[in-house]
Amino acid sequence: MRQALPVLVVLAALLAIWVVACIPMNIKLALTQAERVGVDVVPPDVRVRQEMSGLALALRNPSVIPEVYTLDRPRLPAPGQVGRDFWENTVERKVTSKRSLVFHGWVTLSATLNGFFLGTALGILLAVGIVYSRTMELSIMPWAIISQTIPIVALAPMIIVLVAAVGIEGRLVPKAIISAYLCFFPILVGMVAGLRAPDRMQLDLLKTYSATPLQVFWKLRVPTSLPYLFTSLKVGIAAALVGTIVGELPTGAVQGLGARILIGDQFGTPIQIWSALLATAILAGVLITGIGVLQRLTLRRMGALQ
């Protein structure tokens, strides 16, 4: 409870700032609309209003202020509008509908999970190779670091062309590859640190047991690396979701939360963009919490957590 209170207060403050910010952001649109239905606005000339700040306009036309929260296409939708749109498109709409956010969330989720598993497998395999082979460490590790400084979005359209050229249909594979590219690195770094975590003493003890290298790997290195793995999995799943959204944004995708944002931009419906963003945030929260629960369960069974 002591922890929840500050968070709730900050959230409430952010929400309040959002509500207040709607007034200067939307007042020009609201005034134009009010003028059309015959309300007297000050000043009456649109061109003069264009030059004025939103705050000054709001102060001169206090009667129009409530209108800023009910616009169809506001520059900044009010929290209530976003919430209502989100509710309509998740709970009240059938899941099979093309406008259901649950449907689009599922498309994004499946690409994210595919990319996440691909990236995790790649990261773990590379980490094992790097820990056991000095050649691999010398030649691959620097490139793994450089690969992350290349902005993946530059590669995204390329990957889609390449995957299509190889003859794979659909949008799932390119999106999964992009998210795997973003999420393999934190897992690689975490696993290299984790697999190297056993100290001399522990390795020597296993040597006195005359353990084979395979036994050392499974009975010592893998268990010690698990806490490191879960920490990097949390970073990795967030990175995978970023990758999927980036993969959907610039490529003309028609399904997925990124596509909802894209379509909302093309059709000029900001409320739709904001509710898709809300859905993305919820999806991210669910994924990170899921990994956290998995982490606690596994570590508790291993006795590493009380």
């Binding site: 030649s139 691959i140 944004l249």
Partner: protein, 281 residues
């Protein structure tokens, strides 16, 4: 066919030399640490060239490195224009504004423990969100010019830097702070002489993460509207024209810019936090 066999041969030779380097007496020297990855990169490029020629891959699918290099040389002017628009005006401006704002915010938050407890979990969560999604909104607010790109970058780098700075400022021990108090140091003196230096490794961690985010933000924002130049604009139009050598040249520029940006920040970190264990070899 000969070229394909040659490619495999190149791969085997490169790997063999690297294996020898890794086992040699000078394995921990700076020269080997530089030569091994360089050789690996060169091997991959050579294989790429040989395979593209040997298997007759269409340039519409994957152009050869030499073709990309030729295009790079021929279009230097265009590439430079795109680079200044996206990397300097968009990414770098946004990066500086965003990092500075996050830093100031962290110092302010640091004085109020209540805010700190409330903001840190939210900041941590927001830092994990795909913030690139707000790119279309910011482009519609700030127009098609570089200002909207800088705004997207500000939004993307703000939270990682904020979270890392706040965490860093909490790194000093009670003993260290008590020592400062026995010197009768005030808030600002403690901040400047003890807590900020102690926070530097964390701050630089955030700054380094943000370099890549900045470039990603600037490029993605261009997909939603830009003048007729800029890296994101050029990549989308070139993919449409199937001029893939141009796309790869642009990717090379992005990779170069990203690496230099990251390397620059890492170099400053080395200078500033020379005392930290991770910087001493």
């Amino acid at each position: 066919m000969i070229l394909v066999v040659l490619a495999l041969l190149v791969w085997a030779t490169g790997w063999w030399i690297n294996g020898r380097l890794a086992q040699s007496a000078a394995r921990d020297s700076f020269a080997v640490r530089l030569a091994a990855p360089a050789l690996f990169g060169f091997t991959v490029l050579l294989m790429w060239e040989l395979l593209v020629r040997g298997l007759d891959v269409s340039p519409v699918i994957l152009p050869a490195p030499t073709a990309i290099a030729a295009r790079f040389g021929a279009e230097l002017g265009t590439l430079w224009l795109d680079f200044t628009q996206t990397a300097i005006r968009g990414a770098a401006t946004g990066y500086f504004i965003g990092c500075f704002a996050a830093f100031v915010m962290a110092i302010l938050v640091d004085r109020i423990p209540f805010l700190q407890r409330g903001l840190l979990p939210i900041g941590n969560f927001v830092a994990a969100l795909p913030i690139v999604g707000i790119a279309p909104i910011l482009v519609s607010w700030f127009g098609f010019g570089w200002q909207s790109k800088a705004a997207v970058v500000v939004a993307m780098v703000f939270f990682p830097v904020l979270v890392n700075t706040v965490t860093g400022l909490a790194q000093t021990t009670v003993m260290q702070r008590d020592l400062m108090r026995t010197y009768s140091a005030g808030y600002w003196q403690t901040l400047l002489k003890l807590r900020l230096p102690a926070a530097m490794p964390f701050i630089f961690n955030g700054l380094k993460i943000s370099t890549t985010l900045a470039l990603i933000g600037a490029i993605v924002a261009e997909y939603f509207g830009s003048p007729t130049y800029g890296m994101g604009f050029r990549i989308t139009t070139s993919v449409g024209q199937l001029a893939l050598d141009m796309v790869w040249a642009e990717i090379a520029v992005a990779a170069l810019a990203g690496s230099l940006f990251y390397g620059g920040v890492a170099l400053i970190q080395r200078r500033v936090t020379f005392w930290h264990p991770s910087q001493r070899s």
